[in-house]
């Protein structure tokens, strides 16, 4: 395209992805697939729970996807991708053995130091379970380092539940307090129904030092925050994850800027206290 | 074979839509029509009320292939109506743009629309597989012509930079030099094209025809941009403003389209062959050489040789473009503001566009709005003549025992030889097909 003379520079381009191989693809729902991806030579990704990567399908484009596995697990990492547009649709067309480009890990994940030694409550709605799954796995893998651990998960209907194998395992665990609900149950659904806030009834009283994570669609977010604040949890202990358009993923292209912050740099994880200063986040 | 019925709906490889219908009963042609089914466009109507300087932009939308030609005739007509004298530089640029279109259109017609007939295929597309070098050469020549138009006018289809009174853009010296080099290199392609056409069997048809074209009298150049109306039957020149003395638009019983005749003939022909027949002496020597090589001699009355004349004109246009660019480089081009109108009145603009003589006539009101417009398109002028040719071909071929398919193909080839640009048709009638 450009007639300019170009050559390779000594330093690598930040836009050059690592070519990574898909090890397996598992269908989650009609619109979500779980990808297990390995970097060359089994190199670890070196991420923190809550961070994301930029996934490139060459010829189609790139998009940000949260890492949905814990760094404590295996020599690969997971991405749970919902099919909404070009890149995600093409990702869904790929299979084991295919390659994608990976840039990352990017962004600021959960500040684990803040969580260690405390009670943790995670509330996830819909696809929001994907970004927090890395934290869930981390806590379960390092269970002794955390206090009481509760997880509330809501989906619109049973067919939209993600990570079903996990759900079964989590339910069986004695060291966590796990509840799941669906807004619209079908005939086979035996579990809880109703919006996710109704699960708060199942929770024991929260210790004021509890770290709370809320990730899900905006409406759900608002009502869950009300429940949490009503239980006198300080705003700086309440965590959430923002989604915005992203191109570079490293604070340059400007797309993810919300007021003074770049979601890709200061986020995607924010405390509710931080978020309140970002007025546009609520507009 | 005494009874023949030929119906071709939407003759292909034409600009625009045309239907062909021939009825022969007991060896006599009972009806023969080339009907234009192109939707009526009403350009002359909707020009009314628009500002004078919009006319070129509106009328170039009459036809995608000859949009430069329409723009040229239109700016000339409007300028005549406004008392505008454009600069020498503007005229140079216009001519270069005009040559670009002439080359583009002729190459398109020769290679994409005519050659497939001669090589017995339905289109240029299979040629990409069987004759890739031919197709590549055609594309190369077309692209050169396109780039020539783009450098001067911004683009070939509906040029941008050409306005009433001048240009809003001038090509750079680098662009001109680059084009000149490519034009010179294209001589090889021209030679190959001539060689190809020498091999092709051109059907014979001789019929006494009047050929009408513009002519620049004296030692002037081969007429495209300038000139007065002459013909092979009446060589005395007629000024553009008096075009109605030479072109009589009339309604013909059997056809729903307006036909044209001249004071001398019930039908006449315009186009490359008409120009060649009237102006061959003013061709560039290289073009005359090629005419000699392919055996085209004036006066030539075989309409199938219109293609050959196009080839000869392509050579002329390439050589003339090189000369024009030299002049431009010598004098240097500079940005000039467009010349403003002096008055608003009546004006006629004529140009020899690829398919022949084009007439744009405008009447402006005192605020510069268009009150009346009359546009006469080459294809409209040729229609009556095409039909006359067909009336000569059919009996002769029947006599020779040709099949219906052969006759149909020959008639289609004839229509395509005239390169009719039916979408140009500003006032053809849309007729319901009656069997």
């Amino acid at each position: 395209m450009i007639a300019e003379r170009t050559k390779r520079a000594a330093r690598p381009s930040l836009y050059e992805p690592v070519v990574a191989r898909i090890r397996s693809v598992t269908k989650q729902t009609d619109s979500e697939m779980l990808f297990d991806i390995a970097l060359p030579e089994g190199r670890p990704l070196g991420h923190q729970p809550g961070q994301f990567v930029q996934v490139l399908v060459p010829g189609v484009g790139e998009c940000p996807i949260s890492i949905c596995t814990s760094p404590t697990r295996a020599d690969s990492f997971g991405l749970c991708v919902r099919r909404v547009g070009d890149v995600t649709a093409h990702l869904h067309g790929l299979g084991a053995g295919d390659t994608v480009g990976i840039r990352g890990p990017l962004g600021r994940g959960f500040n684990l130091a803040e969580f260690i030694g405390r009670d943790v409550l995670i509330v996830a709605g819909g696809l929001g379970l994907a970004p927090v799954r890395s934290l869930i796995q981390y806590i379960l893998d390092e269970r002794a380092n955390f206090g009481r651990f509760s997880l509330l998960y809501g989906a619109r209907n049973p067919s939209e539940l993600l990570f079903r194998a996990d759900l079964v395992r989590w339910r069986e665990r004695k060291d966590m307090n796990f509840h799941v609900t669906v807004d619209k149950p079908d005939d086979d659904w035996r579990g809880h129904s109703g919006v996710v806030t109704t699960l708060f009834r199942e929770l024991p009283a929260l210790d004021p030092s509890t770290r709370v994570v809320v990730v899900g669609p905006p409406v759900m977010f608002k009502f869950v925050v009300l429940e949490v604040l009503a239980r006198r949890i300080p705003q700086k202990q309440l965590y959430c994850s923002l989604e915005r358009r992203m191109k570079c993923g490293v604070g340059k292209c400007g797309h993810c800027q919300v007021n003074h912050v770049y979601v890709c740099m200061e986020g995607p994880v924010f405390t509710y206290g931080e978020l309140k200063a970002i007025r546009e986040a609520f507009e | 074979m005494r009874n023949v019925t030929i119906d071709v709906k939407h003759v292909t490889r034409l600009e625009g839509h045309g239907n062909l219908a021939v009825r022969v009963r007991d060896g006599e042609i009972t009806s023969l029509q080339l009907a234009i089914v192109e939707s009526p466009r009403f350009f002359e109507s909707f020009l009314r009320g628009r500002m004078y300087d919009e006319a070129p932009h509106i009328t170039c939308r009459i036809c995608g292939i000859c949009s430069v030609g329409h723009t040229t005739a239109s700016v000339k007509g409007i300028e005549a109506a406004c008392g505008i004298e454009v600069s020498d530089q503007t005229i140079l640029l216009r001519k270069l743009l005009f040559f670009g279109e002439q080359i583009q259109s002729h190459v398109l017609h020769l290679y994409f629309l005519a050659v497939p007939d001669f090589l017995g295929v339905g289109s240029v597309i299979p040629l990409a597989a069987t004759h890739p070098d031919v197709v590549r050469r055609a594309l190369r020549m077309k692209k050169l012509a396109n780039d020539l138009c783009a450098a001067v006018g911004g683009r070939h289809i509906h040029p941008i930079a050409m306005h009433v009174g001048g240009f809003t853009h001038t090509p750079s010296d680098e662009e001109l030099l680059g084009l000149k080099r490519r034009l010179e290199a294209s001589r090889a392609d021209l030679a190959e094209t001539a060689a190809l056409f020498k091999q092709l069997q051109v059907p014979a048809l001789l019929r006494d025809t009047e050929y009408v074209a513009l002519k620049v009298t004296g030692n002037g150049e081969y007429a495209f941009y300038d000139g007065e109306i002459v013909s092979t039957k009446d060589p005395s020149p007629t000024k553009p403003a008096d075009y109605r003395n030479r072109i009589v638009e009339s309604v013909v019983e059997h056809s729903a389209a307006k036909h044209c005749r001249s004071p001398q003939s019930p039908s006449y022909a315009v186009g490359a062959l008409a120009r060649f027949n009237n102006n061959h002496g003013q061709l560039h020597p290289a073009a005359r050489n090629v005419a000699g090589e392919v055996g085209l001699k004036a006066p030539c009355r075989n309409p199938f040789h219109n293609n050959t004349a196009q080839l000869v004109e392509t050579v002329h246009c390439i050589e003339s473009s090189i000369a024009l660019i030299d002049t431009m480089l010598q004098h240097g081009l500079k940005a000039e503001p467009c010349v403003r109108p002096q008055r608003f009145d009546r004006g006629v603009g004529l140009a020899e566009v690829p398919r022949g003589l084009l007439v744009h006539e405008y009447m402006l009101d005192d605020r510069g709005r268009i009150e009346n417009a009359n546009l006469i398109i080459p294809t409209g002028q040729n229609l009556a003549n095409i039909e006359a040719d067909m009336r000569a071909i059919v009996p002769a071929m029947l006599e020779a025992g040709s099949s219906k398919e052969e006759i149909t193909l020959r008639l289609e080839m004839l229509i395509r030889a005239y390169d009719p640009c039916i979408s140009c048709a500003t006032h053809f009638l849309d007729i319901e097909w009656v069997d």
């Binding site: - | 490889r13 466009r41 995608g64 597309i125 941008i160």
Partner: protein
């Protein structure tokens, strides 16, 4: 299997079909990637089992209407190409005159011999899957469209104004010379070709957004003192006129 392509023309100058042939450099690659099965202007063969049909020209006669319905039935994907097919184009100028007047002017007493209707974009008659506007269609955009389709990517028109392309090309702005250009309210994709060649944008690719049109109405009147009828005349040229959307 290569997609089977057709190119059709209704009321228009066929410049858009011609623009496809003007892809010269890429034409062979396009012909390699698709199979053209119906293109009256360029070939004799005709087929009616079509994956993607491109149509230039507006619907302006009952005959056009029948044709476009037939095309719609024959094509899996129908693409309007050019201002005429997308906006009605220059043909719509007649819509602003009385039918009796424009017909009589050209055809006199015989006006009644042929039928004509208001010129309309083809989407006014049948469902259109994609539009590639412009007068003529932008051949580079056509190529981008074909590439997207072949790669299974969704094609989107630029949703920003011509000024963006003007800026990227580093053009001097015509407003700076006192020329009122329609670029700020017109959908980009033409690479700002008109301003690049010193001519004002005439909105042949249509209005980019209702907000831009509203802003134009305010700005041209208050900042540039252009009379409303002149703004309308400008927007009518290629059918970008959208009376109902003007504030």
């Amino acid at each position: 299997m290569k997609p089977r392509i057709a190119i059709f023309s209704l009321t228009g100058c066929e410049g858009c079909s011609l623009a496809i042939l003007e892809l010269e450099d890429q034409l062979l690659a396009v012909l390699d990637a698709v199979e053209i099965v119906n293109f009256r202007e360029g070939m004799t063969e005709r087929a009616w089992d079509i994956d993607i049909g491109f149509v230039d020209g507006a619907v302006s006669t009952p005959g056009d209407e029948a044709e476009i319905r037939h095309y719609r039935e024959s094509c899996k994907v129908l693409v309007a190409i050019g201002a005429c097919a997308c906006l009605g184009g220059i043909n719509t100028l007649k819509n602003h005159q009385l039918a009796a007047e424009y017909r009589g002017y050209v055809y006199g007493e015989r006006a009644a011999w042929f039928p004509t209707t208001a010129a309309r974009p083809i989407a006014a008659v049948v469902k259109v899957d994609y539009e590639l506007p412009g007068c003529p269609m932008v051949k580079e955009e056509f190529l981008r469209f074909v590439k997207h389709l072949l790669a299974g990517r969704q094609f989107r028109l630029p949703d920003y104004a011509v000024c963006v392309e003007c800026k990227k090309r580093g053009n001097p702005c015509l407003y700076d010379r006192g020329v009122v250009c329609l670029g700020p309210m017109t959908r980009a994709g033409c690479d700002a070709i008109c301003p690049t060649y010193g001519s004002k944008c005439e909105a042949c690719r249509g209005i980019v957004s209702p907000e831009a049109l509203a802003a134009a109405a305010l700005n041209l009147r208050d900042q540039y003192h252009v009379p409303q009828e002149e703004v309308l005349a400008g927007l009518r040229l290629y059918g970008a006129y959208q009376e109902e959307k003007l504030p």
